[in-house]
């Protein structure tokens, strides 16, 4: 059995109606922050995205992704970018797809994958807008994005999700299949096609231009010398 866990989810697997209600309450705590309106919580979503489902997600939503994700991090993004510069095609169809910024640890024999949590997304900021303009609909990582990426998310009705950083053993349980499909020589940085079942993520940046990191920290900020509006600011300028 797979765990169904997101940062807004408490119980494993079997969820009674009571649990669902509790989840709604917890998630709405997040989504009420700032201007984000009350929205539907704990959605189970198929990926690649169908129709406009990416654009309908809002910052603070806790969702579970089921379907296919593609992994790519620094080196794979650089290669894809260079391929595009040479007018070559990408190693997989990114239209309506989701890229997971992740490089797993090796699988032990008999296992699908090793530890598999998100890496810092800002390192892919240089490459993300062009992929979004080509039809990429979702990205999963951790940490701040640049304004350029958030603008591209908005422009394309896409979405940026965070998964819990440093919970790679837990997250690996939602990955039921993994195969290297390109750049095998890059080792952990190769492009992998992952089959996921109820992979838990939170919407950080949405198609309306909301950014959960802006609003969530502000709510608990009590330190006058820290500019709470600009947490993670120095690295999000690129």
């Amino acid at each position: 059995m797979l765990p169904r866990k997101s940062p807004c989810h408490k119980k494993l697997v079997t969820e009674s109606d009571g649990d669902r209600m509790a989840d709604r309450l917890m998630c709405s705590e997040l989504s009420q922050v700032g201007t984000v309106k009350e929205i539907e919580m704990n959605r189970h979503i198929e990926v690649p995205f169908l129709e406009a489902s990416a654009a309908s997600l809002r910052a603070g939503d806790c969702v579970y992704l089921t379907g296919i994700l593609y992994t790519a991090r620094d080196a794979a993004h650089k290669r894809m970018y260079e391929a595009l510069e040479r007018n070559e095609s990408l190693p997989f169809d990114i239209r309506d797809g989701v890229i997971y910024y992740m490089g797993p640890s090796p699988a032990r024999p008999g296992r699908v994958i090793g530890s598999a949590g998100p890496t810092t997304s800002s390192r892919m900021d240089k490459y993300a807008p062009i992929l979004l303009d080509m039809g990429l609909k979702g990205m999963i990582g951790k940490g701040r994005r640049s304004q350029g990426v958030k603008d591209a998310v908005k422009r394309n009705g896409a979405v940026y999700f965070a998964a819990v950083g440093g919970a790679g053993a837990l997250l690996s349980r939602s990955i039921v299949g993994a195969e290297v499909i390109a750049y095998e020589d890059l080792g952990t940085e190769a492009v992998r096609r992952l089959k996921v079942r109820e992979f838990p993520v939170i919407v950080v940046a949405d198609a309306e231009g909301n950014d959960l990191y802006d609003t969530a920290a502000q709510r608990y900020c009590r330190e006058a010398t820290v500019d709470c509006m600009n947490i993670g600011g120095a690295i999000s300028q690129t």
């Binding site: 090796p106 090793g114 800002s122 919970a167 993670g232």
Partner: protein, 280 residues
């Protein structure tokens, strides 16, 4: 004089690489458990609970706590009465890392040339810091360091006139800039004084101090406590999703410095603050 065969070093380092990446030390586990009780945000509390569950899964199923199993940072404190035989000590250390990362199914995250960036395939070389200490023992600390938080670390070459307020600002700035990127709750290692490289090394070393142990210097202890409180008032919270636990500890080491300077290094570590220690 005591003779130690370097094969002992190889096997100790191999085992410690595997141990550190699968089992967090008890003090770190306790700190996360404590944080989960204190956190005011519901979502923050749940993230902290998930981190605890992640630790259990890692231990029971032998899956690394985090997929970034780090660059192997190794502190070698060598008693001056020790003599090594059977090969070159440094080769033995790298060999231990090679075996640990290979046999332990740990991620190979090291590139050879930082510009050309080809993966070395075995997570070597390690980063090794030697010091000579009295006695005839060898104390080894293996501290695999992830780069999500390493990338958020900073050095500030302050002026003496910046004083203690300058030091506080430096630490708070580094933490604020790190925000959600460094996988909070963080552990903040700070080195104050010395030279450019000395303060960085102190900040790194401070991360492997037991998390419940405060500085022995009363002034530094007060600074640690004040900074922790202020960091936790930043609102960043677990996962950067808002909350009252942003850091688990601030560990400060200091050293005499030059009349013209006040170096401050801030080495940020995530909640996966790994270190294994052993004496030979």
């Amino acid at each position: 004089m005591r003779i130690i065969n370097v094969d002992l070093v190889v096997s100790a380092i191999k085992e410690m690489c595997i141990e550190a990446n699968h089992f967090l030390s008890q003090d770190m586990k306790d700190a996360i458990e404590e944080a989960a009780k204190k956190e005011e945000s519901v979502v923050g509390r749940q993230i902290l609970e998930q981190l605890q569950e992640n630790l259990n899964i890692a231990k029971q199923e032998m899956i690394p706590i985090c997929q970034d199993t780090g660059m192997a940072v190794i502190f070698m404190e060598i008693g001056q009465d020790v003599h090594f035989e059977g090969g070159f000590l440094e080769d033995a250390i790298h060999e231990g890392v090679r075996q640990g990362y290979g046999e332990g199914y740990l991620r190979k995250s090291v590139v050879g040339n930082p510009i050309l960036r080809k993966n070395t395939g075995d997570n070597t070389p390690a980063i090794i810091h030697y010091s000579i200490v009295p006695g005839d023992q060898v104390h080894i600390t293996v501290a695999p360091k992830g780069f999500g938080s390493e990338n958020m670390s900073r050095i500030f070459m302050l002026k003496p006139s910046d004083g203690i307020e300058g030091v506080k600002n430096a630490v708070l700035t580094a933490v604020k800039d790190a925000g959600p990127n460094a996988c909070p709750p963080m552990v903040v290692g700070v080195g104050i004084g010395g030279t450019f490289e000395k303060c960085a090394l102190m900040a790194k070393r401070a991360l492997s101090r037991p998390i419940d142990k405060r500085s022995e210097d009363s002034g530094m202890r007060e600074l640690e406590e004040e900074l922790l409180e202020r960091i936790n008032r930043s609102g960043i919270g677990p996962g950067g999703l808002g909350g009252t636990v942003t850091a688990l500890a601030v560990n400060i080491d200091s050293y005499p410095t030059h009349i013209a300077g006040l170096p401050v290094a801030v080495n940020i570590c995530c909640h996966v603050n790994r270190h294994a220690t052993r004496s030979l």
